[in-house]
């Protein structure tokens, strides 16, 4: 029996991309039971795109809380056994969900993640600065049992980036089992051309790494 799946799409000013993201979900060979699209205060008409899919997509609009806040809103609304996530600017290959479900059923793992292929926004292959075709615990490549979130709580909304690393670190500490799906399950769009950083990202990065180190050393759950 195929487990029920809720897909949570998050969107912030992705009007040019989010339609393709939703289409890639609707085109899955393993159809999800629920599609929740959370628009996180977009000002570019993204919500209109989400609403255009009618009752097939539960479109939610909220005041901007950041990506973690949008994800948490979607998780609270989700009703299925498994949750999958997709950024509004990324897409899934047609067998993405089916490939991950097959691994989940075969292994019984709580968390399954597959291979991420990175593509430039114009469709070109990224240069060497953007490694690609790697299995990664990136949300869009994951399938996660709903009950994991009941134990771990949601994503930390104080983090603008790397909230998924922080969540995975918590989940790992709590002993949830991972399994790797060898197939490409996420086509991740690269927007920036330059190796760039900013203060917020560096700050989040160090917060997350320190928490991860603390968990590894002391077994402290934070």
């Amino acid at each position: 029996m195929t487990p029920s799946i809720s897909v949570i799409v998050t969107c912030y000013n992705y009007v040019n991309f989010v339609g393709a993201a939703i289409e890639s979900i609707l085109g899955q060979s393993c159809a999800p039971d629920q599609i929740i699209a959370v628009d996180d205060g977009s000002r570019d008409g993204s919500l209109s795109v989400l609403s255009s899919f009618g009752p097939r997509v539960e479109a939610i609009h909220q005041k901007n809380r950041g990506a973690a806040g949008a994800l948490n809103t979607g998780i609270a609304r989700a009703t299925s056994d498994y949750l999958a996530f997709l950024d509004g600017d990324d897409v899934w290959p047609p067998s993405s969900l089916a490939d991950r479900v097959a691994v989940a059923r075969a292994t019984g793992a709580d968390i399954v993640y597959g291979v991420v292929r990175q593509v430039m926004k114009d469709g070109e292959t990224p240069d060497a600065r953007h490694p690609t075709d790697l299995p990664a615990r990136m949300l869009g490549a994951m399938l996660i049992r709903r009950r994991c979130f009941d134990v771990t709580g949601g994503f930390d909304e104080s983090l603008r980036t790397l909230y998924s690393i922080d969540w995975n670190s918590r989940a790992e500490q709590l002993g949830f089992q991972n399994a790797i799906c060898p197939d490409i399950v996420l086509l991740r769009r690269i927007h920036g051309q330059n190796l760039t950083s900013n203060v917020d990202q560096d700050q989040d990065r160090m917060i997350v790494l320190r928490r991860a180190l603390k968990r590894k050393r002391e077994g402290v759950l934070t």
Binding site: S4, Y12, N13, D40, G41, R43, K63, N64, G66, A67, N72, I75, A76, R77, T79, D81, D87, G88, D89, V116, P131, L134, P135, A136, M138, R146, F149, D150, T152, G153, G154, D156, E157, S158, R160, T161, L162, S164, I165, N168, S169, R170, R188, I190, H191, G192, L195, S197, D200, Q201, D202, R205, M206, I207, L209, R210, A212, L213, K216, T222
Partner: protein, 169 residues
């Protein structure tokens, strides 16, 4: 015998390498490998000196003053640690323009010496290799905040559990 000249100067391999020191520990991240590192004590002192583009002789001299260690052992420790940092691509030869910033270490007196150690962590490499540092766009999408950045959560506080609006199946 050090493999490095006394006047050799190094600097962190930015922008691939970023670091932060807090609570007596330095965390160093290499974006190119997704590996992160940590060091404390004498290793932290050497990393801070590298950040200031201080030459090798000055690092050894500082270590000899801060720690209860002979100049020879200090020389060997500094040389060995610099080599370790170089092996992990964390440092490079300082450019001629690099300005020396000799940061004084507060110390009540010479401290007991322990060899500098660099802890190497690869457990988050899959995340960090695909990290959004590579993916910044000024026009669309997160992480550009539309609202003020929220206050960081107290790490000691438990996360609030999510309550589903509908009962789970």
């Amino acid at each position: 015998m050090s493999v490095f000249s006394d006047v050799a100067r190094f600097e962190p391999n930015a922008p691939l390498v970023v670091s932060e020191t807090a609570e007596g520990e330095t965390i160093i991240l290499h974006h190119g490998t997704g590996t992160y590192f940590s060091t404390t004590g004498s290793g932290l002192m050497i990393w801070e000196a590298v950040g200031g583009a201080v030459n090798v002789a000055s690092i050894v001299d500082r270590m000899s003053k801060v720690y209860q260690v002979t100049p020879q052992i200090a020389q060997e420790a500094v040389s060995s640690f610099l080599q370790t940092l170089a092996d992990h691509d964390l440092i490079r030869a300082a450019s001629a323009e690099a300005i020396v910033q000799d940061i004084e270490m507060a110390s009540a007196g010479p401290m007991a010496f322990a060899e500098p150690v660099l802890e190497v962590h690869t457990d988050l490499a899959d995340f960090l290799l695909l990290d959004p540092i590579h993916d910044v766009d000024t026009a669309v999408g997160w992480p550009q905040p539309a609202a003020p950045r929220p206050k960081p959560r107290d790490p000691a506080a438990p996360l609030k559990a999510i309550q589903p609006e509908k009962p789970l199946r």
